[in-house]
Amino acid sequence: MEDEAIHDLTPAYALDALDPEDEERYEAHLATCERCREELAGFREPVAMLAFGVESPAPPPELRSRILDAARAERSNVVPIRRRLPIALGAAAAVAATVAIALGLWAASVSSDLDRERSLLAILADPEAKSIPLEGANGRVVVTDTGEAALVVSGLPTAPEGKTYELWVAKNGEMLPAGVFDAKRERDVVRLTRPVPPGSGVVVTVEDDGGTNVPTGDPIFTAGI
């Protein structure tokens, strides 16, 4: 699925110099490529040291208080996350974070919704997760042993006007909705909104915007868990 040339993107990724579509492709690739992870880890520090090569005037003094005020306002978002986690989940999250950082993915998450990104990363970076290839499309479903799942799919046409792709978890003849996505990008990485138990399947159909509770479209692609 991945072309050899993707390994060559590591230096540019370390320098934040990839074009957006390459960046998405590379980040998905990192999850599966030990060689790139190691190479990237080796470039991080020399790249960051370039920051020390710049002469600088002092930032305006009010910037400090502005940052601290904003941080204080956000504190309610920071403390509870940590305290709320049961210990076991906290440990799992720490392991996932370790791996995510090893993947070099934390830099990417700066610019996106952190919570969404974090849970996606935790799944993609989980070393115990199973990676099941899709049937009918290019990509895979990654499922952790707790059933948390993420879909990585590339090359899908954008959903038609007024339509959306909808994910389903199929189990015992039942189809349960598990989220929607629009495939506006070359590669989509989507977190499933419900767990995917062993013996179930993941199915994607095209539905009306907003999704439905019962599938009406034909399966576009599937994965058997």
Binding site: D8, L9, T10, P11, A12, A14, L15, D16, A17, L18, D19, D22, A41, G42, F43, R44, E45, P46, V47, A48, M49, L50, A51, F52, G53, V54, E55, S56, P57, A58, P59, P60, P61, L63, R64, R66, I67, L68, A70, A71, E74, R75, N77, V78, V79, I81, R82, A97, T98, A100, I101, A102, W106, A107, A108, S109, V110, S111, L114, R118
Partner: protein, 217 residues
């Protein structure tokens, strides 16, 4: 500007001593500060800011060439540090690497979002930056060390790395700008970063660099 900023930033911006900080952690490591930030201790974030604001702002300004945007980038980066502190793993990266990666990322995001046309970072830098502050000796030495390492790269490698990192250009923008095949740009970045790693993060590899550093103290 020059007249008003000729003070050590650490002194000007020194945080008020917090009653939350017991005396035995009055000079905590960066790692300890990040751990405290993860617990929601904003005095730890303030201390990290005081240590890295100057280099962070300098980097953001270099990439963005606009004081207001540079402030935005620094603010967003430190807030990202605040939000992500619980995910920091000391074994994986140095605190400075971790923090400055956020700063660079935000600066590059902003420069592309603004679609500002960036001037050539190889020239005219002084004019943009204006007056310099008096730096502490460590900061000056560190800067000289990085600049010396960059100067040791072959011109083409240095050009690609500087335009990418300081200029915020993507590799395909670079290929177009420099009139080179994309593969050439990639290989210049790769070879250049390999060499920089030797020069900057494996000091024993390059005894001369350390001699130079010592002789300037």
């Amino acid at each position: 500007m020059t007249a008003t900023v000729t003070l050590l930033p650490w002194v000007v911006l020194a945080p008020p001593r917090s009653r939350h900080v017991p005396p035995d952690v009055a000079h905590p490591s960066d790692e300890a500060l990040i751990a405290r930030a993860a617990e929601g201790d904003e005095t730890a974030l303030a201390a990290l800011y005081d240590r890295y604001a100057l280099v962070a702002y300098g980097l953001a300004l270099r990439v963005l060439r606009d004081a207001a945007l540079a402030e935005d980038a620094v603010q967003e980066a430190f807030l990202a540090v605040w939000r992500s502190a619980h995910r920091y793993i000391p074994e994986r990266s140095k605190p400075s690497t971790w923090i400055l990666t956020f700063v660079h990322r935000r600066a590059v995001d902003l420069v592309r979002h603004e679609e500002r046309r960036r001037a050539d970072p190889l020239t005219d830098v002084e004019a943009v930056l204006g007056g310099m502050v008096d730096e502490d000796a460590w900061r000056r030495l560190e800067r000289e060390r990085v600049q010396t390492a960059l100067r040791k790269l072959p011109d083409h490698q240095r050009e690609s790395i500087e335009l990418a990192y300081y200029g915020g250009f993507t590799q395909s923008e670079l290929a177009e700008r420099l009139g080179q095949p994309l593969g050439t740009i990639k290989s210049r970045m790769f070879t250049g970063l390999e060499r920089l790693r030797e020069l900057l993060t494996e000091p024993d590899h390059d005894g001369e660099g350390w001699k130079t550093k010592r002789s300037t103290t």
